[in-house]
Symmetry: C2
Subunit: 423 residues, 2 copies
């Protein structure tokens, strides 16, 4: 989509890859310092060696420091950090450890609807029970704890709900949770003994001026020892989103809080079968958590590149919301964070009938028509889940502004035609 990599990140990873470059004067000293430090913590000073299954030591230390700083001093320990092959790998691994049982005691995993399909796929792979809680579209896709409670008690009738997944900022909704909402969720998790999985990969992608990212870990800590010593939490981050967008490196980490020692032992065993996460992805993760600091040679360029990407995304988030809401029959919540619009679309009855003829979900039919008529590919809401009778699609806001404007105009024109055709 034209977004360029952060120069400093690629410099550090290139230096680690081919250490002869450490003598090359065109690479900045701060990048070399980081590369040397990473290599010293790698077996044989090489990205080509297996690392410990949990990840390279110094990188886990840097992750812990990053979290402490982000969370204004809440303690984080490298022993609780697991480097992963992207966030997906961490989420699948911890779910595998948490899921068990048969019949009535099969593990229920609570996930938001709409959700990111990794969750439904992992739950299905593990033969666990997917327990849906619906986000409140009328209220900017907020998480309502009463809906959580409804879903939980309903699920208890046929399974054993033990895990509660939260995506914040939301994918595909773009919603950013308030501190108050997170407190309510944590309180509920303590009350019902739920293990929290906080998918926080979009933590750098906050666009609405009125929103702020709060990590579940930080809020948990602030609620006091009764909560912080008891609620079990795993949170996830990656190199794939944010301002980095380095998804190909498959870098990520998971932090665990209050994981029982027996569970930890099983987790370590499970992870060791897969040997280790890609070490170049671990190096990329290190740069994300340990970027250039004020006074360092690369600081200004780094900040310039980072801010440009994030400002650009914020502009596109606003633009997308604004343009979608000008279209009759499209309603789009504010894109507070993440990278997607998930507008609600009105699909006329005649189109719904047509979709049935094609044995397609109505929004799938809509998206196929859009693709065929305009070449624009968006994902139908039915792939993420949505309230019965509502229709949506997910679209990224990643294209460059000028392209995005054209694209939005084309979607608008298509939608108007679609409404007419099926009026």
């Amino acid at each position: 989509m034209g977004q360029q990599p952060i120069t400093f990140l690629r410099q550090v990873v290139a230096l680690c890859t081919y250490p002869d470059l450490l003598d090359n004067p065109s690479f900045p000293k701060d990048a070399k310092r980081r590369a040397r430090r990473i290599l010293e913590s790698c077996s044989g000073q090489s990205l080509g060696s297996y690392s410990a299954s949990q990840g390279v030591n110094c990188i886990r230390e840097d992750v812990a420091k990053f979290i402490e700083k982000r969370d204004e001093g809440v303690p984080a320990h490298p022993d609780n950090i697991y480097l992963t092959t992207g966030a997906s790998d961490g989420i699948s691994s911890i779910l595998k450890i948490l899921v068990s049982g048969e019949g009535q005691s099969r593990t229920g995993v609570m996930i938001p609807i709409p959700q990111y399909p990794l969750y439904s796929a992992a739950i299905s792979e593990l033969d666990a029970i997917q327990v849906n809680y619906y986000l409140d579209e009328e209220n900017c896709w907020a998480l309502d704890v009463n809906e959580l409670r409804r879903a939980f008690y309903r699920a208890k009738e046929y399974c054993s709900p033990k895990v509660l997944c939260i995506i914040n900022p939301g994918n595909p909704t773009g919603q950013v949770q308030s501190k108050h909402c997170i407190e309510e969720v944590i309180h509920f998790a303590l009350e019902e003994g739920l293990f929290l999985l906080a998918d926080e990969v979009y933590q750098d992608n906050i666009y609405s001026k009125s929103c702020q990212f709060y990590s579940f870990k930080k809020v948990l800590y602030d609620m006091g020892p009764e909560y912080f010593n008891n609620v079990e939490l795993a949170s996830f981050h990656s190199t794939s989103k944010g301002y980095m967008g380095e998804c190909g490196y498959r870098g990520g980490y998971m932090e665990v809080v209050n994981l029982h020692p027996d569970i930890t032992a099983q987790l370590v065993k499970l992870l060791s079968v897969r040997l280790c996460p890609p070490v170049s992805g671990q190096a990329a993760m290190d740069v994300v958590v340990n970027p250039p600091q004020p006074g360092e040679e690369s600081y200004e360029q780094f900040i310039r590149e980072k801010d440009a990407i994030l400002c650009n995304l914020a502009e596109k988030a606003e633009l997308t919301e604004e343009l979608f809401n000008q279209v009759p029959g499209i309603k789009c919540n504010p894109l507070q964070g993440a990278m997607y619009a998930f507008p609600r679309i009105f699909i006329p009855d005649k189109a719904i009938e047509k979709a049935k003829e094609h044995q397609m979900a109505p929004d799938m039919y809509y998206c196929m028509c859009l693709l065929e008529e305009t070449g624009i590919c968006v994902v139908p809401g039915s792939g993420f889940g949505q309230k019965e009778g509502t229709h949506h699609f997910r679209m990224t806001i990643l294209p460059p502004v000028e392209k995005l404007k054209i694209l939005l105009q084309k979607v608008k024109d298509f939608h108007m035609r679609f409404l007419e055709d099926y009026a």
Copy 2:
């Protein structure tokens, strides 16, 4: 262990990581050509983009060409190549697809004993049935098809054996299978409708002059259409072993033969949940399958480095076998390939009693004593499986020759003392 990376591989990956280096005159032209080609096949010309879940197109093409060349013209198609996160990921994924059933119809997966523990772990994770067939230690750890048959019919009494795993060259045995042996295995697989998994990650690590690597694919093809059109096979390779030793990159591929289209669809779906293998590992894999050719600038250095590593490993394989066999109470088969010695050790009865007191397997006790007395860490045979009443350990031959000599002398001295202490 002191083994240096292949310069050309790291140059190509560094160029892909930080394309500014494409203007740097100190990088060879052939490395730049390969980097440009890989980048052109990556979305946004970047290692940081997700690739297709099956892997970068041009790399799959290169893998197919490599296989065709290796197998003297046996056709290979990029559509049948799946790039993976190391070989382990490929093996786990295909096993996940193949395993099913409950009770009597639970899938049995046949694995060699001794085995590489990835297999037992994956089988256990998937709740499949591990069906052991024993390699013949008296016959250089050869695979005996009668033993396969015995294990298969025994297993049919309580499960549904459907998958047959072969590790060639063997880990931990170092055995290299003869063409005749492979033919017998394939014939058996056709007879019994078994899906073959051929773990061929050590295909470049052949040391005995009398041995040659035959791929299962090639032998299958040579057996004629009745076999080549019917036997289902998945084979695995990686960047981690061979002369490359780039395990940290988590690069690998899987080639499938005769995979049913319905199974292919499920496999693609499963792989897509994890998004894609690390793209830098894919780039490393590309260099392995598409190394410098005669006439190219980097060819001589590449061959020099490659040969030095492989000759050195061959020397250490011979040295290890020779020295172990000088020790009374240690018996070591020839290290025909791979990277390990798996000597049989005699453990006196008194030591076995002592081990029982410590609630340890006898060879575990032996290995712990070795570790405590000498600082040398080897893995007990019980971790890989062995015939009841026999004891072994696995040791890599990776340390530099001079260190390896000292190490072997220390093991020898320890073993003599151990025999005396427990006489």
